[in-house]
């Protein structure tokens, strides 16, 4: 009961702020709504028992990436509103329609398949071990440093490359 209330509340807020993100004129406000959205999603993670993910979400997304967005928004000190010029060929309406249709389809599929075969194999998997409640961080760490070691290293290389790339791009003269 309580879970449902929390979930529906969170879901409504998440979707609402997401809509605000893409509909607000002011870019800084947009970024602010994005932060709120991320924080709400982090709460959702907590509901899902993924505390570590929630913390990382706040730390990286809210504390890092969006700050970066804000920096850029401030540096890009616009003298004229960015939405003035519109290319006539961009088919915005079609895109909107397609996206809505797709959403409907996806929802239909998900709901259909969920009702079709109820009782997912969660219980079986839970019985098989892998209790994710306790040492959530520890487990993620174990997986990251064993099974996913190579992706982990690749990700670190990716970040390094991105860092260098960003520096090269943003620096005025090297």
């Amino acid at each position: 009961m309580a879970e449902a209330i929390v979930f529906y509340g969170l879901a409504a807020l998440i979707l609402g702020f997401a809509v605000l993100v893409i509909s607000t004129r002011n870019t800084v406000h947009s970024a602010l709504y994005l932060v709120v959205n991320f924080l709400l999603v982090a709460m959702l993670y907590v509901m899902l028992g993924a505390e570590f993910l929630a913390a990382i979400q706040v730390l990286v997304y809210a504390g890092g990436i969006v700050v970066l967005y804000l920096f850029v928004v401030m540096l890009v000190n616009l003298k004229r509103p960015p939405e003035t010029h519109q290319d006539p060929r961009r088919q915005t309406r079609l895109g909107l329609a397609l996206a809505s249709a797709l959403l409907a389809e996806l929802a239909a599929i998900i709901v259909y398949s969920a009702t079709g075969e109820s009782a997912p194999a969660a219980t079986a998997a839970a019985a098989a071990g892998a209790d994710i409640a306790g040492g959530n961080v520890e487990q993620i760490g174990m997986l990251l440093y064993t099974n996913y070691l190579i992706p982990f290293e690749v990700a670190s290389m990716l970040l390094l490359v991105a860092m260098i790339g960003a520096i090269v791009l943003a620096k005025r003269e090297l």
């Binding site: 060929r89 088919q91 895109g95 996206a99 797709l102 389809e105 239909a108």
Partner: protein
Amino acid sequence: MDVIWLIPLLPGIGAAVNGLLGIRFFSKVQTAVVGCGSMGLAALLSVYAFVQLLGSESRVHDVVVATWIPPIALETVDGIGAFAADWAFRLDPLSGMMILVVSGIGLLIHIYSTSYMLSESDAGYARFFCYLNLFCFFMLTLVLGANLLVMFVGWEGVGLCSYLLIGFWYEKQSASDAGKKAFLVNRIGDWGFVLGIFLIFFTFGSLDFREVAAGAAAMPIEAAEFGVISLICLFLFVGAVGKSAQIPLYVWLPDAMEGPTPVSALIHAATMVTAGVYMVCRNAVLFTHAPMVMTIVAVIGGLTALMAASIGLTQTDIKRVLAYSTVSQLGYMFLATGVGAFGAGAFHLMTHAFFKALLFLGSGSVIHAMNEEQDMRRMGGLKTFMPVTFVTMLVGTLAIAGIPPLAGFFSKDEILFRTFLHNRALWILAVATAGMTAFYMFRLMAMTFYGDYRGPAWENAEGDDHGGHDENGGHGAWHGPHESPPPMTGPLMALAVGAIVAGFVGIPAALGGSNAIEHFLEPSFVAEAHVEGGEVAAGEAAEEVHEISHAAELGLMALSILVALGGIGLAYRLYIARPELAEAWRARWAGVHRVLLNKYYVDELYQSTVVRGTMSGGRGLWRFDGRVVDGAVNGAGWLTIVSSWCSQLFDRYAVDGAVNLIGWSASESSFSLRRIQTGLIQNYALVMLLGVFVFVSIYLLVQ
């Protein structure tokens, strides 16, 4: 002894320090201290390990440093095997001897280089020592490796270092070309080696030498048929041929003399080129199970020895003479292994390392003294200018010529004797080679040190001993030939002592010795499980030795000494006593001389076959393109013309119309299609979205 992994690692660390820090920050002294220091420590450790080995009962010691490749399931001949490799090092008599040779001679050459390379810049100096240390690291890895993969790491590593060091003066076109040549030729050998490794794993399910040997020992000797072991051995031998410069892949070694002389001494005479011999010895059990390959090895070894020696007769570049001599001596070693005398081959490997390193360093000293002059025709009479170099080189020359009691005598004679037992034809080849060796080596000595000085004049006629070095240790103006500084003569003297005494470990029974070295090395050439029946061939061969009387052996020795003395005498007569006679002979045998001087035209042969073959293959394809394809096109054009002549109307309205239609439709459609390329990301995203939509719709409908 558990720290034998430190032996290769120390030069590795030295290389890392010199490479990472030295090139930027070190002075020459610091570089030299790091380089020689790490080598010195490695040498000390080698001696320590060797002494421990002598004391230990089992005569073999394994150290596994780390797991390299965890077991991977792979198919082998008997089901699924585990492909695994450790960083494992093995110290046994053979590798023990090798680490002594490598680290000892390596150390001496490091010391020598500190002085020889002084004219380099600080960075170049550090780079040189970095490469040199790196080489020692890989070479020691090669000899200490307990399985084929570790050995292969060292094998490739020394190839790399060889490439780097041959091309050390990469500004020089010929040097970088020589480096590339060495690298490419070696690749052919490595191809064989790798195939051999694959086949070994497939056959025995392991790469560890001991397990392979045990596996091979359990298999029958392939005396008649050419079975899998023979194939493995053939592949391995291809690898050895590449690395050890045997026919037909020897061409890179003489060119490798473009590198600095210490490099020639260390890599292209004493250590790396013997890796092939070492590898064959290491896999002795395999080879003994493949007599046909053994025969091939022996024949190729013998032929290489003879051919290289004959080329050496006429060369005038001091280092090239030595290079061909090296090839020839390597041929000897393969001859030895080919006739089953692995111990003799390894013994010769060791003694050869001493005297050839000595000779190269001596020649380096001479070149140094002559202000980078390598042509012997422009030397002569240097005996008085550089007595230490002269004496030490004379020792080396006598050793290589096989004059008792110097080192070369014992090892070479052992090979000759064993060959005699095995195959008389090969023996004749070997004896001829011995004679030639003595001749060309004394020719070298004569042209360099005797006679009149034929080199260029120098500024200061006084030409005192160390006039060539100014305060900075670099070279000022050249003041004529001079004796080299102590860091260069020191190693020369040390190696000379080695060239004298190294043979004493293998005095044959006929001379009252015990042939200690071969008995010492024997455990390395047999499988561990030799308690079982089917005594291994190497052991049998050793038994065989005693069947021949000592008298015969002594006779053969005397013969070989005579041959050597004959060669020396001839050289003396032709180049010291009566130089004009040499001219006369050259004129008389002009044809032969030209062939020899041009090294049997092998380079040209390769140029015209392999290189030009590739080129002409390409050209042929080009011609095919030009003649056949273009011809077809032209023919079609001609047919069109004919047909158009036949029906002009059809041409004009139908064909032209069709062509125009195609062009017109292409241009029209391009204008309309270009619109799709709007440059608007959203449009592209829209298409993606559409695609997703379609897929999801299909999924929905199918559900």
